[in-house]
């Protein structure tokens, strides 16, 4: 009798599917790469937290590799993240903060209380820069290279381990 190869089709489909599912296991479904990777830092024109008369724009980030950290006084995880950011600053990383959806008083109070690792803080009360960055919850961090292109996006909390394991290697990579 003629071999009926089509009877193996369901099995074949299943094997492929099972392989793909196996590949998908252990991945974090909520992890996503930023849509802004390899793209220039979005244009903005905002005052700094320190000085409401000084306006800065994206050219601020050119010339050196920068870690841009989006934070807010209202965000408890940001408080836990500050020690790591201070460590990074000590290790010579150039940090710029974005004070996201905050008031000037609260933002300044936050830095007084928890320390200020940032060379400068962009004040973003409306969250417009945060929105353009695709931020959907603070804290989030971006590594921007010397040409002002976004190279790395860290969503959420930078753990003490992340400092050595993730952030510093990424910074070195783009220097």
């Amino acid at each position: 009798m003629k071999k009926r190869y089509w009877l193996f089709v369901p099995l074949l489909i299943f094997v492929v599917l099972a392989f793909l599912l196996w590949q998908g296991l252990g991945r974090d479904p909520s992890h996503r790469d930023s849509a802004l990777l390899e793209k220039p830092f979005p244009a903005f024109s905002l005052t700094t937290l320190e000085n409401d008369e000084r306006t800065v724009d994206a050219s601020l980030l050119e010339g050196q590799v920068t870690l841009v950290n989006v934070w807010g006084e209202w965000c408890p995880t940001c408080k836990r993240e500050m020690p790591q950011l201070l460590t990074l600053a000590e290790r010579g990383v150039h940090l710029v903060g974005v004070d996201y959806k905050d008031t000037r008083d609260k933002g300044q109070g936050f830095l007084e209380e928890f320390g200020n690792p940032f060379a400068l803080n962009i004040f973003d009360p409306e969250g417009s820069l945060g929105f353009d960055l695709g931020v959907y919850g603070a804290p989030e961090s971006f590594i921007v290279d010397a040409r002002g292109n976004i190279r790395y996006h860290h969503t959420g909390y930078i753990t003490p381990e992340d400092v050595e394991d993730v952030i510093l290697p990424e910074i070195r990579r783009w220097q």
């Binding site: 849509a35 209202w74 965000c75 695709g134 959907y136 919850g137």
Partner: protein, 167 residues
């Protein structure tokens, strides 16, 4: 309960979410006088996915980022942007992930074409079946055969010797 780091993280995330919800008290009930704009707004917020939530449209989510996105959509509509522009702006910020209707591109070809191909294959299979059997049409089980099937079925009751002969 043993406080695992995971549980702690979860509790923290929940706390953050509540705090965020409390700060996002802004009135974001966007209303349009033009019913056409209102309809476009409803459609857009129902088909854009909230990037922060677990599978909710921005129109269905209470999370702050969904509120920001609704505000952005409303503002863009008032400015006169097209639906495509608005979607594109969202994709530039949050990735293709926010589109509930994936765009047709090379990597989604199988997704969009799959069902159509399925219908065609199915029709071809039916045609093949009907054609191959056209010449050998036999009668369905008539009463006689039905009876034979029934006796066969009832004969199996507890009759093991009968069963083995079938193996």
């Amino acid at each position: 309960m043993a406080v695992t780091p995971k549980a702690l993280m979860r509790a923290l995330i929940a706390a953050v979410a509540i705090l965020l919800a409390a700060t996002a008290g802004a009135d974001d009930l966007h209303r349009f006088d033009d019913p056409a704009l209102q309809a476009r707004y409803s459609e857009l917020i129902a088909t854009l996915r909230c990037p922060k939530c677990e599978n909710q449209a921005i129109g269905d989510s209470g999370s702050p980022i969904a509120g920001d996105m609704r505000t952005h959509v409303a503002r863009a509509l008032r400015r006169g942007d097209s639906d495509d522009d608005i979607r594109q702006a969202m994709v530039e910020r949050f990735g293709d992930y926010v589109l509930y209707r994936p765009r047709l591109e090379w990597r989604t070809v199988a997704l969009w074409a799959g069902p159509g191909v399925g219908v065609l294959l199915g029709l071809a299979a039916i045609a093949a079946v009907i054609r191959s059997r056209r010449d050998e049409r036999a009668e369905a089980l008539d009463d006689d055969e039905q009876q034979r099937l029934d006796t066969l079925l009832s004969r199996h009751q507890g009759n093991d010797d009968q069963d083995r002969s079938h193996q």
